[in-house]
Amino acid sequence: MEAILTFISNNQLMIYMVVLMIFVGIELIEKVPSVLHTPLMSGANAIHGVVIIGAIIIMGQAESIFAIVLGFIAVVLGTLNVVGGFVVTDRMLDMFKKKKK
């Protein structure tokens, strides 16, 4: 229990950020036309690819074979998420762009 309380007071900034981010996330989505749901989902999908930073960190600190192999796979998968996500979103949005006359 004490550990948790200390954690909270030591990481106030982080916790504030989490709470505020939740509101920002909600605020951003609130009034989106349903047409854009798919590209938006796809774009958000690419953004959570930010997890790749964790993969890069473990890869960069890896010493054992175990960590190197898993880290390498993690970097590849994370990159797939980021690059694939943004490219797919871009392709979807290309379709929208052409509609303008």
Partner: protein, 468 residues
């Protein structure tokens, strides 16, 4: 010095994400928004590679890092460029799964970092909780996304186990129980990590398996926000602001998007997750028995009927996407307009396999944006419509959703095409739609069926119209 620069880079990256998502919600700015988010991501990635330091030590293994980045980029770009417009939803689900797997792998490695010769009980409790949660959420997201991918690709069928919900809830309780027991040192065997991994993967499969058909987009959106939360766990672990930021942002935006999508179908999230809408055989047999006969119409008659109409509304569905008939559909629209017929498209929010699926597809073939009318706006117009041409859509025009409480799709808002003077349903066969239920519209005496492949039939219709 390096650390401060990296902090600033992360800040710019995070602002890029916010702007990106904000602009993605606006049709005019969406493309730029995507680029801004990608730019923020690129900054964060390269900043980490070159500037990250832990206890004064920079990162090693550059060869491996860049190797991984290059392999991922090549494969990712190839897959994303190659996929057809009809396959987009699967692709999103696949990439989402990759992110989940990445988060789970991070937890696996970090767990081994924390433990000394297999003893992890000395590690800080909160770190353990974060690692376990990252592993569990990431694995569920991975397994679930892969099943969703397989289902949308029609490689996996819906399957409901007896007592599915009880099993799922039980498994979740066991999962969390083990995770907390291990965090507080009650379980000290390091193999617990792999037990959690396996159980989470099983949970992910069981979670998505029974959810069927039209609900898939909602599930993908939900799994999307799961992966966001898993990424945020990584942010806590490394005290990394941009991971935390991006992860939580997607987690909350994704959750809300899920709810908004449910609303578009007039259903609650709980209903989607535990209801048996399109949930395989259980739902398929239900609904009123339909008696009567269907009427067929020849292509020439259909062409004549449309040519002498004042107003024609086209209802596109997944069949149009499968047949890649969007271009010839646009051609039909142009031919009719030359004859002085007013042509509009009625877009159901869940037509196809994802919200906006039809808009994307029709926009690809240059259909003007203002001709695509959303459900609430077009429904009152059907009364003054002469002919509704339904191309490969089924469940979204099924009147059972309105007047048959025993139907599994009861309550879903539909396009009220039965108000029009005449409907023509273009379909390959009398087979039921994705939700697996009969459609009484087909038996209505105002309706005619036009059997055949959507693309071929539409092409023939255009030829007929031109020769009339």
């Amino acid at each position: 010095m390096k650390q401060s620069i990296l902090d600033i880079i992360y800040m710019i990256g995070a602002v890029g994400f916010i702007f990106g998502i904000k602009m993605l919600g606006n049709p005019e700015k969406a493309k730029k928004g995507n680029l801004i988010a990608a730019f923020g991501m690129g900054l964060a990635i390269f900043g980490t590679i070159f500037l990250y330091e832990h206890n004064g030590k920079p990162l090693n293994n550059y060869l491996w890092i860049f190797g991984g980045l290059i392999v991922g980029t090549v494969i990712g770009t190839m897959m994303a460029k190659k996929v057809k417009m009809t396959g987009m939803p699967q692709m999103v689900s696949f990439f989402n799964g990759m992110g989940g797997a990445c988060a789970a792998l991070i937890s696996l490695v970090e767990f081994n970092h924390l433990s000394h010769e297999g003893d992890f009980t000395q590690a800080p409790v909160l770190k353990l909780i974060i690692i376990f949660l990252g592993l569990i959420i990431g694995s569920i997201s991975f397994a679930g996304s892969m099943i969703a991918f397989g289902k949308l690709d029609e490689k996996i069928k819906d399957k409901t186990l007896p007592l599915q919900q009880v099993i799922n809830i039980g498994l979740m309780v066991v999962l969390l129980g083990i995770a907390f027991a291990a965090s507080f040192g009650v379980i000290s065997n390091p193999m617990v990590l792999y037990l959690l991994l396996v159980l989470s993967l099983i949970y992910g499969v069981l979670f998505v398996m029974p959810i069927g058909g039209a609900d898939m987009p909602v599930v993908i959106s939900l799994l999307n926000s799961f992966t966001g939360v898993a990424a945020a766990m990584g942010g806590f672990l490394y005290d990394n602001k941009v991971m935390l930021f991006g992860g939580i942002l997607v987690g909350s935006a994704g959750t809300l998007l899920t709810v908004v999508m449910c609303k578009a179908m007039n259903r609650s999230l709980t209903n989607v997750l535990i209801g048996n809408f399109g949930g395989g055989s259980a739902a398929a047999g239900e609904g009123k028995e339909i008696t009567g006969s269907v009427k067929e119409i020849s292509k020439t008659d259909a062409a004549v009927l449309m040519k002498y109409s004042k107003k024609v509304v086209i209802v596109p569905g997944y069949g149009l996407a499968v047949a890649q008939a969007q271009h010839v559909c646009h051609e039909l629209e142009q031919v009719l307009e030359e004859e002085g017929v007013e042509v509009k498209y009625a877009i159901h929010p869940v037509a196809g396999r994802m919200p906006g699926h039809m808009n994307v597809l029709l926009a690809e073939s240059n259909v003007s944006y203002d001709k695509l009318i959303e459900m609430d706006d077009i429904n009152p117009e059907f009364k003054t419509t002469d002919v509704v041409l339904i191309v490969g859509a089924n469940d979204v025009v099924n009147p059972a959703a309105k007047n048959d409480p025993s139907s599994p799709i009861y309550g879903m808002p539909i396009l009220e095409v039965e108000d029009a003077a005449h409907t023509i349903v273009m379909k390959r066969s009398m087979k039921a739609g994705y939700a697996g239920i009969e459609n009484e519209l087909f038996y209505s005496n105002k309706n005619s069926m036009l059997f055949g492949d959507a693309k071929k039939t539409l092409t023939d219709l255009v030829t007929e119209l031109k020769s009339l």
